[in-house]
């Protein structure tokens, strides 16, 4: 015997199922009955008949899906993956989502949704982040977690991952992730460990049942859930077009305050965040700004980690400073310092070893104490 939510779970995984279609199917109907309507075993009410008439392929696709993945199997997969199905109206359903105009009718959750009762800040940004961007995200993640705030992000490459790693580095923190595919399918693969850590410490939320593949169209949809769950959204780095700008728009529509980290006008990965600032988002330069936006005491910030790195040699300090301004090549460093290439190669080798510089494709960037988490 399977519970009613198993039918909702199965329906959520149907091809071209949207939250409004699912809501329409479930409206005033027992989930089991809704499932039978969807797969054509029960007489469909007028709006759904009209939908099928407009789009006969959809009815066929749903019937096919019903055969391929019966509710019992979806339910078994949820149990196997340790995924809880939370349906709108359940006790556990997040109250922040309940009144949302495009609320997901079902959530697939690994971990505990109760952690959402704390203060919540979203940290999002581009996947192609700079070292600086990832460090900032890791720093904010760590400091917010240390201040007892729940960090919500998307577990993507770049900014998202760094924010999660930063938050997880604080003992007892409970980060939350909203992902765009099945909660049992770590994506990107390199983040498998991070996924499991977030799921076991905090909560990992998806609108899609286990086994759903990471299709491009799902990520903008997940952004609305993320935006609805947070009180303040921080965009660390974003390109001129990107998922984080969608999240920012969704947040603005829901009255969530959007903060952006300013970046160099020459950096491609700061175009989006700088535009957000032009459009009226508040700038963030340190974690205190975020805490103040939450209405918390900004002075609680600054419990920085101890910087254990060996101080650079006085001669090499100029190199670190030049690379802090922006990424430099060895040639550029040679041009602005009158030191020989060999001498500079020695300097950057020392600085790399001591954790002050990082090289990517011949470009040197200064890194800070957050680099190990970024």
């Amino acid at each position: 015997m399977i519970p009613p939510s198993a039918y909702v779970a199965a329906l959520a995984g149907f091809e071209r199922m949207t939250s409004s279609r699912l809501d329409g199917l479930l409206a005033g109907r027992d989930p089991r009955e809704a499932w039978e309507v969807a797969v054509g075993r029960a007489r469909a009410p007028e709006p759904i008949r009209a939908l099928f008439a407009r789009d006969p392929d959809l009815a066929a696709a749903w019937r096919r899906d019903a055969e391929r993945r019966p509710p019992a199997e979806t339910w078994r997969r949820c149990l196997d993956a340790g995924v809880t199905v939370v349906v709108a109206g359940d006790q556990a359903y997040p109250p922040q989502l309940l009144d949302d105009p495009r609320r997901p009718p079902a959530l697939f959750v690994r971990g505990d949704l109760a952690v959402l009762d704390a203060r919540r800040v979203g940290i999002v940004g581009t996947r192609n982040a700079t070292q600086r961007g990832r460090q900032t995200a890791a720093e904010f993640g760590w400091e917010l977690a240390a201040a007892g705030v729940v960090v919500v992000s998307g577990l993507a490459r770049g900014i998202d991952g760094a924010a999660h790693r930063g938050a997880l580095a604080v003992d007892g923190s409970t980060p939350v992730a909203v992902v765009g595919n099945g909660p049992d399918v770590p994506y990107p693969k390199q983040h498998a460990e991070l996924w499991n850590a977030v799921a076991s410490r905090g909560a990992l939320i998806s609108e899609w049942p286990p086994g759903t593949s990471p299709d491009a169209f799902r990520f903008p949809l997940r952004n609305r859930i993320l935006a609805a769950l947070v009180e303040v959204l921080v965009v660390v780095e974003s390109r001129e077009r990107g998922g984080s700008l969608i999240t920012a728009r969704e947040a603005a529509e829901r009255g969530v305050e959007v903060l952006a980290v300013p970046g160099s006008v020459q950096s491609r990965s700061s175009i989006g965040t700088n535009r957000l600032l032009c459009d009226g988002a508040a700038p963030v330069t340190e974690v205190a700004d975020v805490l103040v936006a939450l209405g918390l005491d900004g002075r609680r910030a600054g419990r920085s980690r101890f910087d254990a790195r060996r101080r650079p040699h006085p001669d090499d300090r100029a190199v670190v400073d030049a690379c802090r301004e922006r990424a430099r090549t060895l040639e550029e460093l040679a041009a602005c310092s009158a030191r020989s290439l060999t001498d500079l190669a020695l300097a950057v080798a020392r600085l790399e070893h001591d954790g002050w510089l990082r090289e990517t494709a011949g470009w040197f960037e200064a890194i800070d104490q957050w680099a190990d988490l970024a």
């Binding site: 192609n128 982040a129 700079t130 070292q131 961007g133 990107p188 780095e237 950096s267 491609r268 990965s269 922006r326 990424a327 090549t329 060895l330 040639e331 550029e332 040679a334 041009a335 290439l341 060999t342 001498d343 190669a345 020695l346 080798a349 070893h353 990517t360 494709a361 011949g362 470009w363 960037e365």
Partner: protein, 508 residues
């Protein structure tokens, strides 16, 4: 009535001596050619007959049998035409046999009796011992390069008959050097390169140690410009190497430089649409040397490495390993020389890359791009150089960079140092040899150990870095058997990787 005339044929880049045997007997008039001629060679009969008639000699009305010895090898090409015509005349006793005893003939015949140039004169002349060799006037300079006997340039069959039949003196032709008719390609100078100190250093190291080099950088960074300046840094070819290179170019029918002998290292830059056969060499009957062999003793430059078909690039692996290329087909076995310095250039990723955060390529795109160049091929590059677009200040700077002649001097000295130490270039140093000639001082050891512990340096990369560090030491004139810390840290800078490998965090 029999004649045997010496001639030669070219196969791959090698010459083979051929005896053209002609027997003329009474009987029904006819002509038979044996000894596995191909279509072109078989047609020699018609060219020879017409040429003789144009020169006022009648084709004998007799039964003629021609054998091309050794009979078991396939013959190809038109270089036996003249030998056939002379053979027929000797066999019919128009020309006395003694007159051709110490001669060899290599030329194609025109129907008007003129001698036409053929490809491969240098390797062919090289296998004719000390015979005097009769060649077309246009090939005289080329023949002089390898001839042990005298070169007898002749313009027409009529002229030759005057000498052989009427015992006239050999004709005295003005020899035009075909190499002087085409302007020799100017070797570009390193002084034109502004800025780019690291890439310039890489070129110098590549030239001094014979290290294969890969330039990775965005479009417009100057990768092609740098590569084109590498041959200028290499020393002049010594006599045996020059002859090897000349033989290949002659066999391929390429125009040779003035004087006929290739003395500067050749520079070959095949386009990325090149087929595997064109790169490796091939053809159905003759084996035309490919670009790899044309770059023998010089530089093979592959621009846009990732745009080459992967199967074409795989053809590079064997010659890179063995320095010769073995071509085996059903009817065809040949060894072509292929000892070249490989220089390649490519973008870090399809969008061109740039400073961190600039790349717009997705993971899938990056991996597809990286797969185009196989790991084993990438492993062959001792030097992998990140080339960046030069800064505005560098481009506008008026002072020229260091000139090729200055750098070439240091390269020559470093090569000499390596030659006296281990008798070869540093790129050929094996791991046991490295333990002897490239010990690590304490600082160098520490750096390499750290790189390996961080997972940034693989076992193969370790040897590569030591080889390159040895060359850097040689360029400084360091004669010790130890490489210093600053040589190793500089060598560590020449380990550029593709963007895909960077994202995956792979060791180089």
């Amino acid at each position: 009535m029999f004649a045997s005339i010496a001639s030669a044929m070219v196969f791959g880049a090698e010459g083979f001596p051929i005896q053209v045997e002609v027997q003329v007997s009474k009987g029904l008039p006819g002509f038979k050619m044996v000894g596995r001629p191909d279509e072109t060679t078989r047609e020699a009969r018609d060219r020879a007959r017409a040429a003789l008639q144009s020169s006022g000699v009648d084709w004998p009305t007799a039964n003629i049998t021609v054998n091309l010895a050794p009979s078991s090898d396939r013959k190809s090409g038109s270089c036996l035409d003249l030998a056939l015509a002379v053979g027929v005349l000797v066999a019919t006793e128009v020309i006395p046999a003694e007159a051709v005893e110490r001669l060899a003939f290599v030329a194609e015949l025109g129907l008007d009796g003129s001698l036409r140039p053929v490809a491969g004169i240098v390797p062919m002349v090289g296998v004719l011992d000390d015979r005097d060799v009769v060649v077309p006037v246009r090939c005289a300079v080329e023949a002089e390069v390898a001839a042990l006997g005298r070169v007898r340039p002749v313009a027409t069959l009529g002229e030759l008959l005057d000498v052989l039949v009427l015992q006239a003196p050999w004709p005295d032709h003005d020899i035009d050097d075909p190499g002087e008719l085409v302007a020799p390609p100017a070797e570009p100078d390193l002084a034109d390169v502004h800025g780019q100190p690291l890439a310039r250093q890489a070129l110098e190291i590549a030239a001094a140690g014979g290290h294969h080099t890969l330039f990775i950088g965005p479009p417009g960074a100057g990768k092609t410009m740098l590569a084109a300046r590498l041959p200028g840094l290499l020393p002049r070819l010594e006599r045996t190497r020059a002859l090897e290179a000349t033989m290949v170019h002659s066999a391929a029918g390429a125009v040779l430089p003035p004087g006929g002998l290739i003395q500067r290292p050749p520079f070959r830059a095949p386009h990325h649409s090149t087929s595997a056969i064109a790169l490796v060499g091939g053809g159905s009957h003759t084996l035309r040397p490919g670009e790899i062999s044309m770059a023998h003793c010089g530089v093979l430059f592959l621009d846009e490495l990732a745009e080459f078909a992967p199967s074409v690039l795989d053809g590079l692996r064997q010659p890179l390993e063995q320095r010769v290329i073995t071509v085996d087909r059903a009817q065809l076995h040949a060894v072509l020389p292929a000892d070249f310095l490989l220089v390649a250039a490519m973008n870090p990723c399809p969008c061109g890359g740039g400073p961190p955060g600039n790349c717009v390529c997705g993971d899938a795109v990056l991996h597809r791009y990286a797969r185009r160049v196989s790991g084993p091929l990438l492993d062959r590059f001792d030097l992998r150089v990140n080339v960046h677009r030069p800064g505005v200040d560098d481009l506008l700077a008026n002072e020229p960079g260091e000139a090729t002649s200055v750098v070439a001097g240091r390269v020559e000295a470093a090569r000499e140092l390596a030659r006296t130490r281990q008798g070869g270039l540093n790129s050929a140093l094996t791991a046991p040899q490295l333990d002897v000639v490239a010990r690590l001082d304490a600082g160098a050891h520490g750096h390499l150990r750290n790189e390996m512990e961080q997972g940034r340096l693989s076992g193969r990369g370790y040897h590569r870095v030591r080889r390159v560090a040895r060359t850097i030491g040689d360029l400084r004139g360091d004669e010790s058997d130890t490489v210093a810390e600053h040589d190793v840290v500089l060598a560590l800078r020449f380990r550029a990787t593709l963007a895909a490998a960077l994202r995956a965090g792979r060791a180089a």
